[in-house]
Amino acid sequence: MRIRFWGTRGSIPTSMNADHLRDKIGAAVRAVIEAGGDPDAALDALPFHMRGTYGGESSCVQIETDGPEYIICDMGSGARRLALNALGKHGPGAPQVYNIFQSHVHWDHIMGFPFFIPAFIPGNVIRIHGCHDELEMAFRRQQDNPSFPVPFEFLGATIEFVKLEPEQTYQVGGLTVTPFRQLHAGDSYGYRFEKGGKVAVYSTDSEHKLEDQEETDYFVRHFRDADAVGFDTMYSLADATSLKEDWGHSSNMVAVELCQMAAVKTLCMFHHEPVYSDAQIDQVLAETRRFEEISRGDGLPLHVVASYDGLEIEL
């Protein structure tokens, strides 16, 4: 099983402007000159925020297996690049099955669908799974006038909407999939994917109130022994419990604690705050790794990564 992150930014897509990019290039060039020696080696040795970028696409994550069908979590703006990659791999004349699992239908999680080219191509089958009654309505509405010029009926692929029930287990695309309910405006749903002894959990747009043990136990049960968990770490704990309480998102500290309790192997920080620069996300990652050390106790180390657009993790 392999996880491919196509969009990792929260709430709205972001991009660097010319000044941001110039600052980044300038800092990298100066650091490489100062290091001397092989410039490629010096570049590779720079911190990630100097040599790369976390990217700015909104939520879209692919779970690859050796099966022929696509498994995709959310249709944020990252879905556009996923689609281009799929077409480059198969060509437009080779029909595919795309299984999409929606955490919820807020705009940043569906905005990539109008640009998801496989939806335009006859022969493709697109099954959009989710637990919300409004699932189909939300996808159709964003293509209606005056929001978009291509109505849903114009799409050439066979598009099906599949209503799921939380806590029920389904077999889709060769994986066992279990949705579970999360706290977010209008509800959101996480998904636990299992195949061949490997487990990946997608849990975004989820607030954790920390009010009772029952809530903690519920998430620990769904995260239990996962190889990787993608977790909404948008805010600091202070923001998540004060100014941004009830905004439906969580923190890096709660992510670490829940993953430690559930004996998760890798935490993938996800749904990054759109105002954060690459350097700020690097800083949050360093702090999160330090908190993992502080809070580990006698448990096994939890590997912590900050997901970025283009990251691939082999489980």
Binding site: L237, T241, S242, M253
Partner: protein, 125 residues
Amino acid sequence: MKVTTANYGDAIVVRAAGRIDQSSAGEFQKKLTDLVDMAIGSEKQIVVDLSKVDYISSVGLRALMVANKQAKPKGVTIRIASMQEVVREVFSISHFDKVFPTFEEMPKALQAVSALAAAAYTDED
């Protein structure tokens, strides 16, 4: 975890000891919110002495935040004093150090409350 209290002039000092985590945060929160009620009624301020606290988890920090939401609109400031290094790091990572005034030593925290509180602490200790 143990929680004790003491009064120094117009300051109520809350002394916690041990770990403040899932198993003890409920008791910590109840004690804090009761003391905030008392502080509001008697026009006092609160200083939380964390010198004997080895670790505080997110649930423990939340207890402080709940008390702060109760206290702040009523003019009561919760100050944090004498954190051990690990607890200080947790405050920094969580950004709670941006919400609560923090002090390296109790006398400085009490001076920030009032000269009366600082003097009462010096006399007793």
